[in-house]
């Protein structure tokens, strides 16, 4: 009887501690995300010029300059003089959309990235209609900004987005590097030229695409 009581006590303490710890982790993650959201509370709109560099082996395109406009809560518009290729994810501050709607978050560790101490937070959106099913954020808790983000989407696979900052207000990024997998991508070879949709696998070169976006001339709330 006494032995059973001791085991029960140990188990109870164990579950209790892990529960409290889990709650604390979730709570810390929420605090980090709330601080992040606070950053953008006063951000009504912004516009900027973005230099787009597409680094994909089979895509030949010169660097393009486009105009980016953001309006609260999450409306992004892109204006391009010529034809520009943009990654489907990674340019629209997706984390803002994520944290402005319902989500569940977990603190999943910490990591030093280029000398910046970051905390890793996993975010699961509660709305099923969202394309992003899971996001992992590397948050700099001192500067309250995201250093890196990995999103897993329903339609277009996963995207890794790295942010670089200087001193823009509202912690808007100076540079965004979006990396994503294109190994499953097929090109309808010569469709334009011959109207023969002979899907040809892209065999050569790396299977990842990189799009580097350099922002300049930010105009915030003007």
């Amino acid at each position: 009887m006494r032995r059973r009581l001791i085991i029960g006590l140990i188990l109870g303490i164990g579950f209790g501690v892990s529960g409290v710890s889990g709650y604390a982790q979730g709570d810390e993650a929420n605090v980090l995300l709330n601080n992040l959201a606070k950053n953008f509370e006063k951000l009504e709109q912004f516009s900027a010029e973005a230099v787009i560099k597409v680094d994909v082996d089979f895509i030949k395109i010169k660097d393009r300059v486009i105009k980016v406009r953001f309006e609260k809560p999450d409306k992004f518009t892109f204006d391009s003089e010529g034809l520009t290729l943009l990654p489907k994810n990674g340019l629209q501050l997706e984390y803002l959309t994520l944290i402005s709607k319902g989500y569940t978050s977990i603190l999943a560790g910490q990591e030093d990235l280029s000398g910046i101490h970051t905390k890793i937070v996993k975010v699961i959106p509660e709305i099923e209609t969202e394309d992003i099913v899971l996001a992992q954020l590397w948050i700099d808790p001192v500067a309250n900004r995201i250093v890196k983000m990995k999103t897993y989407t329903k339609k277009s696979g996963s995207y890794l987005i790295e942010f670089k900052y200087t001193d823009h207000p509202f912690n808007l990024p100076d540079q965004t590097v979006v990396t994503f997998d294109i190994s499953a991508l097929t090109l309808p070879a010569k469709v334009m030229s011959e109207f023969q949709p002979q899907a040809e696998k892209v065999k050569e070169g790396p299977s990842t695409a990189r799009v580097i976006v350099q922002y300049r001339n930010y105009k915030v709330n003007q």
Partner: protein
């Protein structure tokens, strides 16, 4: 010589069949331009379906250059037929009409006659291409306006609108060279025939036949494929290569020139010795 060319040009442009080519090009280009204006979005969506999973295309995808590129692709199928329709009739038509005897009793050498008829046919070919360019550009400006060109082969290239005029000009120039080869071939067949149906059908059959056989039996014919001029009919696309250098097309141009000179000199040689029986 100049007078001879003028006479031949007069003969060409007083025949109704000459205008079939211009009419056909007008109908085809107009249909393509209006078709793309109405259904272009669906067409491009289908072409880009795969890329659209990963990328967003920002900007004017359907524009005069894109449509011009589509027209370039489709019309090189029809233009050889339209060229042969006139050049295949240049010598055979005279034989068929029984006018050679009268012409050749005049103080005009057979060599001069062959050269002048060939040059007149060449001018017709040039006019057909110029008409195609002008019509394509006119419809393009009216319906779409300028923009960057998206070229999809095994790679995807996006070429800025400021870098396109010379590419289209050289592509059409190369196309004209290819059509000169076709014109010379049908001219040669025309010299060998007394009825213009033969050279016209013969030219079309040869081009389509060689192209089909080359495509279907590519592995079988691989060793000889580099020697067919039809292999290089699509080489105008190389002018839209973002890393274009002249060396990319030098060999193709050389092959076309060799064929032009070969066909022309066979015609000359054959016609000089030909018995005029009609």
């Amino acid at each position: 010589m100049w007078k001879l060319i003028n006479i031949e040009l007069y003969k060409i442009f007083t025949k109704p069949r000459t205008y079939i080519g211009f009419g056909a090009i007008f109908v085809i280009i107009t249909a393509i331009e209006i078709g793309i204006k109405i259904k272009g979005d669906d067409m491009f969506a289908m072409i880009l379906e795969n890329l659209s999973d990963k990328f967003i295309f920002e900007g004017k995808l359907i524009n005069m250059y894109g449509v011009g590129y589509v027209i370039l692709n489709t019309l090189w199928i029809h233009v050889p037929i339209l060229v042969a329709l006139v050049t295949g009739d240049l010598l055979a038509g005279e034989a068929n009409g029984g006018t050679f005897r009268i012409i050749l009793t005049r103080p005009v050498s057979r060599v001069k006659l062959i050269i002048s008829k060939f040059l007149a046919g060449w001018v017709y070919t040039l006019m057909l291409i110029i008409f195609m360019i002008l019509l394509s550009a006119l419809w393009g400006v009216v319906l779409f306006g300028p923009g960057d060109l998206l070229v999809m082969t095994t790679k995807v290239s996006i070429i800025g609108s400021d870098d396109l005029i010379w590419r289209f000009a050289t592509a059409y120039g190369y196309g004209f060279l290819c059509m000169t080869t076709v014109a010379t071939m049908s001219y040669m067949l025309s010299a060998m025939s007394d009825n213009s149906i033969g050279p016209i059908i013969g030219t079309i059959a040869l081009i389509i036949g060689i192209t089909v056989v080359s495509t279907v039996g590519a592995s079988l014919l691989e060793p000889v494929l580099p020697y067919f001029f039809t292999t290089y009919l699509q080489s105008w696309q190389k002018f839209f290569n973002t890393e274009f250098t002249f060396s990319l097309v030098a060999h193709d141009i050389l092959i076309q020139l060799i064929y032009i000179f070969a066909f022309f000199f066979i015609t000359l040689f054959y016609f000089r010795k030909k018995d005029i029986l009609t």
